[in-house]
């Protein structure tokens, strides 16, 4: 009975591939996050340890940051409750400055990071985000455990936080801004001007 056999084969294949697909998609979120961090890490290490002038390296590093970090998401998180209180104009200024502060604070350290090595470890899901562990080694410094927090790992992976030895960059930044605002009458404009000064000093 060829018909029945064909039917069974097709059904079996469907079941099998269906099962495999389900199995694969259950794994991909973590695997994709780990692969994404590995690729990003490779890009960063290539820029830092690669040839080129400091200016070229900064340009390349900025490209990496823009394409892998959810800068606006992180910025909103760091402003906390003040994001809602800010006027659209203030929000725009703030986002723009936050982007510059982030880029300059990372790119200004390119020299210090020469010889850096990143070893990617395990990845695990926590709520909607994937945490990818790694060990960052650089000359003159003890090895550091760094977790990379990735949002939407399955579809559009973006770095939303970097956690070094248990300390989250975005949480620390948020408390820095919160404290600054608390000591400056919760005035968002004064935060914006402080950030503007920071950018001017760095460049």
């Amino acid at each position: 009975m060829p018909n029945r056999r064909t039917f069974l084969t097709i059904a079996g294949t469907l079941l099998l591939t269906g099962g495999m697909a389900r199995h694969a998609s259950a794994e991909t979120a973590e695997e994709r996050a780990a692969a994404f961090v590995r690729a990003t890490g490779d890009r960063l290490v290539a820029v830092v340890n690669g040839p080129g002038t400091t200016l070229e390296k900064r340009k390349a590093m900025t490209d990496v940051i823009n394409s892998t970090v959810d800068v606006n998401g992180v910025a909103r998180f760091c402003l906390g409750r003040f994001w809602r209180q800010a006027s659209p104009e203030q929000q725009e200024h703030y986002l723009n400055l936050f982007h510059q502060v982030l880029v300059t604070s990372i790119t200004s350290k390119i020299g210090e990071y020469k010889g850096v090595r990143i070893t990617i470890g395990k990845a695990q899901m926590r709520d909607e985000e994937a945490w990818v562990s790694s060990v960052v080694e650089r000359p003159n410094n003890p090895p550091t455990n760094v977790d990379w927090v990735i949002s939407k790992p399955g579809t559009d992976p973006r770095i939303v936080d970097v956690v070094a030895e248990g300390t989250s960059m975005r949480l620390t930044q948020r408390s820095d801004y919160a404290s600054y605002l608390a000591h400056n009458n919760n005035d968002i404009d004064s935060l914006i001007s402080a950030m503007r000064q920071q950018v001017a000093q760095a460049s």
Partner: protein, 267 residues
């Protein structure tokens, strides 16, 4: 005056002065109840002694800029990295008795076993602790102090403290620091001037070693933070929290590797 000043006595003195200053100086004024968001922030920050803490932060910062940071820079400049690592390992090895005690008080037998093996291996094969051979043999170092122990016992951390010389802390960690010093056999061994001298050199070397390891990180925080004090406060708490969680979540079984395993004992 003899040079018989004891380390614990001095530290107790520092802590007493600190708490006295806190009482004398003002406390932070909480925001008005009409602004619930600000009140929530104030509670979350948990730093009622902020004005006093900031004074000590400024003083410590001065001491650091004048003495500790240059010392750490000189140390990094003069001593090659492998030797610095060796010194760091020796200091760690001297801390293992206290570490072992805390591992046991935390009720973590596997961690206590790791510490015990580390002490045996590194003191002998590792030449008095200079080489961390135990790490390569599967006994990595871990954090353990009485502050962590008390956290696991359920003692609350209390408000944030910035202590003179010692830096960011809280009542639980400050008390834990004192207990660790009192519990350290090296604090009580011998009474001669030579032993005291060694005690103090260990204390000083520890400070320089720790500072050297944090040189780049602290420099970059001071450069990039709008409010370095608040940033250090946040970093200190997060770091302690992650150390405590690491101990809490280390529930490795105590069954030997060669023992036949069943599914239920596999984890």
């Amino acid at each position: 005056m003899r040079l018989a000043l004891r380390l614990p006595a001095l530290l107790a003195g520092i802590l007493c002065t600190a708490s006295l200053c806190c009482m004398l100086a003002g406390c932070a004024t909480p925001p008005p109840a009409s602004d619930p968001d600000a009140v929530a922030d104030f509670r979350e920050t948990n730093d009622p002694l902020e004005p006093t803490n900031r004074v000590f932060y400024t003083i410590n910062n001065g001491i650091d800029t004048a003495i500790l940071r240059p010392a750490a820079q000189a140390y990094r400049y003069a001593v090659p990295e492998p030797v610095r690592n060796g010194v760091h390992n020796i200091l760690n090895n001297l801390g293992t008795p206290v570490q072992l005690g805390n591992d046991m008080l935390e009720g973590k037998p596997r961690r206590a076993g790791d510490t015990y093996m580390r002490f045996l291996i590194n003191t002998t094969v590792g030449v008095l602790g200079f080489f961390d051979v135990a790490k390569r043999w599967g006994y990595p170092n871990h954090d353990s102090d009485f502050g962590i122990t008390m956290a696991l016992w359920g003692v609350p951390e209390g408000p944030f403290l910035f202590l003179p010389v010692l830096g960011p802390s809280d009542p639980r960690d400050a008390a834990g620091f004192g207990v660790d010093i009192a519990a350290d056999p090296f604090t009580w061994v011998g009474r001669g001037a030579a032993v005291k001298g060694l005690d103090w050199s260990r204390f000083a070397l520890n400070a320089v070693d720790q500072r050297e390891r944090a040189l780049d990180a602290i420099d970059s925080i001071k450069k990039t933070a709008l409010d370095p004090y608040a940033t250090f406060r946040s970093l200190y708490r997060q770091h302690r929290e992650s150390q405590i969680e690491a101990v809490r979540n280390d529930n490795r079984a105590t069954i030997p590797v060669w023992f036949p395993r069943t599914a239920s004992t596999d984890r």
